[in-house]
């Protein structure tokens, strides 16, 4: 029996499992899909908000303020790119300046450091591509960017290294409370745990309702994005927001940690928990809104578009609390600024678990450091030469857009929480993230996955179980040499 079962290996579940792996607990992280970081975590704005935005009395406000300063340390330990590049919220009118003042005041109440309102000319001096219509902006120095799926994968890897059990392809179909234990079933299989932490994202209501009375509902709120070619690097150098509205913080334009430009999202409540599609009207709206803040965005440099679903809970705030059923904890409705708040949420959950487990000991063997990921293209020539001498596979470029070597791909397949799918490789090592979007490298990635995993090429999938790439061999197994 496990001490703790965490349901959902998105950024929240992963952060909690890594924090819990610091203690002497038997923890299992349960994921319905065949990889971690497969829901909201894989498709969002990738921003670590400074924390002035959410109302100071809410969970969103509190946890964001606490979470932001925690990123430097964890990203360093886990070798995940994180950059504090600062953010601007732009105002185009006197009325919007009032909004900025409200945000500033709210931020000050939360103790957010280094925030101030500056005038339009000063903003344009710092960010020359911004609109001439801007009259003022709220600058926040501590806002940053991160790779959310890289971080999530790294957290899982580190948690597993420190003893957490990861169960993939385990879609929870039922949870029963039996005296002091929960029986968590997935079809015929079942596991037992003393405590359950529900981090199931857009499905958190469904999971809650297996044990508790329906207290909240999760509405998927879809957001669509454009990603621009690295050639557009430098269009903006910080995170650019328009003034917030009721539906959220609005469309932003930001660099990514990899040097692309990310633009989005719109905001649309939908009924399906699976329909993370892009729409013509949604993307047009994003284009229009972004064009208000940044001049002449080169939309001919779009390399991909995507959409993600935020988990919007009844009441609008994060639900982070013990439920009516003892031992069952909800971490639900974690929409923006959920990523920014995630480390603080994890610490808070640890506190709850500690309170429930008097005398909980630390895991003496806990190693916070994750084995470094080789980023071949970022190495110096001498380092590259050394590496190729040691392992020839670093001398073979597989992804020519991002210059990713076979060595890097093999490494991310063979690590703990290794890649099993084409998208899994893409999120870990980036082949296919470039301008040809995998046109050239995807057949090679499929081949490497099959070889490393000892599978048939036909059995390699893009993402989920049914996302097959190959239907059959063209001519069967004819050996033409015979």
């Amino acid at each position: 029996m496990y001490d703790v079962a965490i349901i959902g290996a998105g950024i929240i579940g992963s952060f909690i499992s890594r924090e819990l792996s610091k203690y002497d607990l038997k923890t299992v992280l349960i994921e319905k899909d065949n990889d971690v970081s497969n829901g909201t975590t894989k498709a969002n704005s990738a921003i670590i908000h400074a924390g002035y935005d959410a109302f100071y009395k809410t969970n969103k406000g509190k946890f964001n303020a606490l979470g932001n300063p925690m990123f430097d340390k964890v990203c360093k330990e886990l070798d995940v790119a994180f950059k504090r590049i600062g953010s601007y919220v732009l105002a185009y009118s006197e009325k919007e300046i009032e909004t900025l003042k409200r945000l500033l005041e709210n931020g000050e109440k939360l103790g957010i450091p280094d925030i101030k309102i500056i005038d339009g000319d000063e903003i344009r001096k710092r960010e020359p591509k911004l609109s001439d219509e801007i009259v003022a902006g709220l600058y926040a120095k501590t806002a940053g960017i991160v790779g959310p799926f890289e971080l999530c994968i790294a957290l899982c890897e580190n948690a597993v290294e420190n003893g957490t059990k990861l169960l993939l392809n385990y879609e929870v179909s039922n949870i029963e409370k039996n005296e002091n234990r929960f029986i968590i079933s997935s079809n015929e299989k079942s596991i037992e745990a003393k405590y359950v932490i529900n981090c199931a994202g857009v499905y958190a209501d469904k999971i809650n309702n297996m044990v508790n009375k329906p207290k909240f509902k999760i509405t998927p709120r879809r957001g669509e994005y454009y990603l621009l070619d690295k050639r557009t690097n430098g269009l903006v150098n910080s995170i650019i927001f328009n003034c917030p509205t009721k539906m959220g913080k609005g469309v932003l334009v930001t660099p990514t940690v990899h040097g692309n430009i990310l633009i989005g999202p719109n905001s649309e409540d939908i009924s399906s928990k699976e329909e993370n599609k892009t729409t013509f009207s949604g993307l047009e709206f994003v284009k229009e809104s972004a064009s208000k803040s940044v001049k002449n965005i080169p939309f001919n440099e779009v390399i991909t578009t995507f959409s993600g679903l935020r988990a919007e809970a009844t009441g609008g705030d994060f639900i982070i609390e013990k439920s009516d059923t003892k031992g069952f904890i909800n971490v639900a409705g974690i929409k923006s600024p959920g990523l920014s708040a995630s480390p603080a949420i994890a610490k808070y959950i640890v506190k709850i678990i500690k309170d429930l487990n008097e005398g909980l000991k630390e895991n003496k063997d806990f190693n916070p450091i994750r084995k470094k990921i080789v980023k071949f293209s970022e190495l110096k020539d001498e380092e590259k030469k050394e590496l190729i001498k040691k392992d020839k596979r670093y001398g073979r470029i597989i992804c020519r857009c991002e210059n990713i070597t076979e060595g890097e791909i093999v490494d991310v397949i063979n690590r703990l929480v290794g890649a099993r799918t084409v998208d899994g490789v893409k999120r870990r090592a980036r082949p296919g993230m470039g301008r040809c979007q995998g046109g050239f490298c995807s057949p090679r990635v499929v081949e490497i996955l099959a070889r490393e995993l000892g599978k048939r090429v036909e059995d390699i999938v893009k993402s989920n179980k049914e996302s097959y790439i190959i239907t059959k061999e063209t001519k069967g197994n004819i050996d033409y040499n015979k």
């Binding site: 596979r393 073979r396 301008r435 057949p443 081949e447 999938v461 049914e466 239907t471 061999e473 063209t474």
Partner: protein
């Protein structure tokens, strides 16, 4: 540091022809660098026939066409490296390349020939809305899977875009037992060669839906279908014309883009109309001694013309190395006037032109019974009647050098007259 007279980047049809020609013109130290596991480039996955009619007067398959050049390259004793990627080039013609055997190599050349070819436009670049399931392939990727790796990628297929690869793949998938439901084309005309439309679609009763596009891709994990719609003159979908087609695969054949990441790194100027380097009569880019040929310069319809153009680049590079290329002279600029999409070359120095000056052009629209009018400054120097002009078919204009040599001309323009 290694040294070569000429380094050719890319061992496809362009690079092979250029290297062979340079060798024939007396250059000894030539190195061809190829990133794939074999020479021949994309020709190796084009197992259909139709190659070589102009160069060899016979119909060859892609691999057969490539083989002739590969054999000659080997007979000529030209050095080549496979599975080797060029990471960087400089304006001083230094290159940095990488492979598993040598690791990182820094090589100095006297001249460079760029022949990196092109890549396919992607779903992202054209913004097709919908889900992002498996089963969406660019036509060339599917072609590689089927013809080189030996794997089929689907059973019920819709193809967006009627460029040549899309048309060829419609037939190829049919021959492999798949059902091609339709080829949808945004434009009111196909961008592919006429012969491909007839031989690959009509012969197999595959519908070509002109002025149609895909407005949504359906399917969570694998493609389950697409919604297509008619488009109006402004290429906007017309409401109520939407139609759902069930399929498990969507192939995209929506255009090719010359691959000039290296050219840009070296500081070579790119023509926004071709997306390739600006070149002169000798296929020399805006940096002296760096030449370019084939699809990296502009996307060709026929490999035969790639070969022709690349021979010119090879010859010019040899002249450059031997000090015989005339550098200083008044430059004539070419100007794509009314109805013309682009002209290659963009710059001309007449002293390097022997008897004929050849202009490669592409029109912007479909024309019937029209004329191509060529002017030197404001004076008409040639008119060519054409019964049919289409963007999918490159036109070659051949001008007698005597029309221009020794005359003070600063501009040659080409325009379309007619409707």
């Amino acid at each position: 540091m290694l040294n070569y007279d000429i380094i050719v980047i890319g061992g496809g049809p362009a690079g092979l022809a250029a290297a062979i020609e340079a060798k024939k013109k007396g250059i000894k130290d030539i190195l061809v660098i190829e990133r794939d596991r074999e020479l021949g480039g994309i020709l190796q996955q084009c197992i259909h026939n139709g190659f070589g009619l102009h160069i060899f007067n016979e119909e060859l398959t892609g691999p057969e066409y490539a083989e002739r050049f590969i054999d000659e390259l080997k007979n000529q004793g030209i050095e080549y490296m496979l599975d080797t990627m060029v990471l960087d080039i400089t304006k001083d013609k230094k290159i940095s390349a990488i492979n598993t055997k040598e690791g990182i190599m820094n090589i100095q050349a006297k001249a460079l020939i760029l022949s990196m070819g092109c890549r396919e436009r992607t779903r992202g670049a054209i913004n097709i809305a919908g889900m992002r399931p498996a089963g969406v392939f660019s036509a060339g990727t599917a072609q590689r899977f089927i013809n080189m790796e030996g794997y089929m990628v689907g059973k019920k297929i819709v193809i967006l875009g009627s460029g040549d690869i899309g048309l060829i793949m419609a037939r190829r998938m049919t021959l492999e037992g798949a059902k091609v439901e339709a080829v949808a084309e945004l434009m009111p005309f196909s961008g592919g060669l006429k012969r491909n439309i007839v031989q690959c679609l009509y012969d197999y009763n595959i519908p070509l839906l002109l002025s149609h596009t895909i407005i949504e891709i359906k399917g969570k994990e694998r493609v389950e279908g697409v919604v297509i719609a008619k488009v109006d003159k402004n290429k906007k979908p017309i409401s109520k014309t939407e139609r759902y087609i069930e399929c498990d695969t969507l192939l995209l054949s929506v255009g090719l883009i010359p691959e000039n990441e290296l050219s840009i790194k070296a500081g070579i100027k790119i023509d926004p109309r071709t997306n390739g380097p600006i070149v002169n009569e000798s296929m020399e880019t805006t940096i002296n001694g760096i030449f370019a040929c084939g699809n990296v310069v502009h996307v060709h319809d026929l490999v035969d013309f790639v070969t022709k153009e690349s021979k010119k680049a090879g010859k010019s590079a040899s002249k450059y190395v031997l000090g015989n290329l005339i550098k200083k002279e008044e430059i004539i600029k070419t100007n794509a006037d009314r109805g013309i999409g682009y002209i290659v070359p963009q710059r001309i120095r007449m002293s390097n032109v022997d008897k004929k000056l050849e202009l490669f052009i592409r029109v912007k629209d479909v024309y019937k019974d029209a004329k191509l009018v060529i002017k030197a400054d404001e004076k008409v120097i040639k008119e060519l009647k054409r019964r049919h002009l289409a963007p999918g078919e490159m036109e070659i204009i051949s001008l007698n050098a005597s029309l221009l040599k020794g005359k003070k001309v600063s501009n040659i323009s080409v325009s379309v007259k007619g409707s």
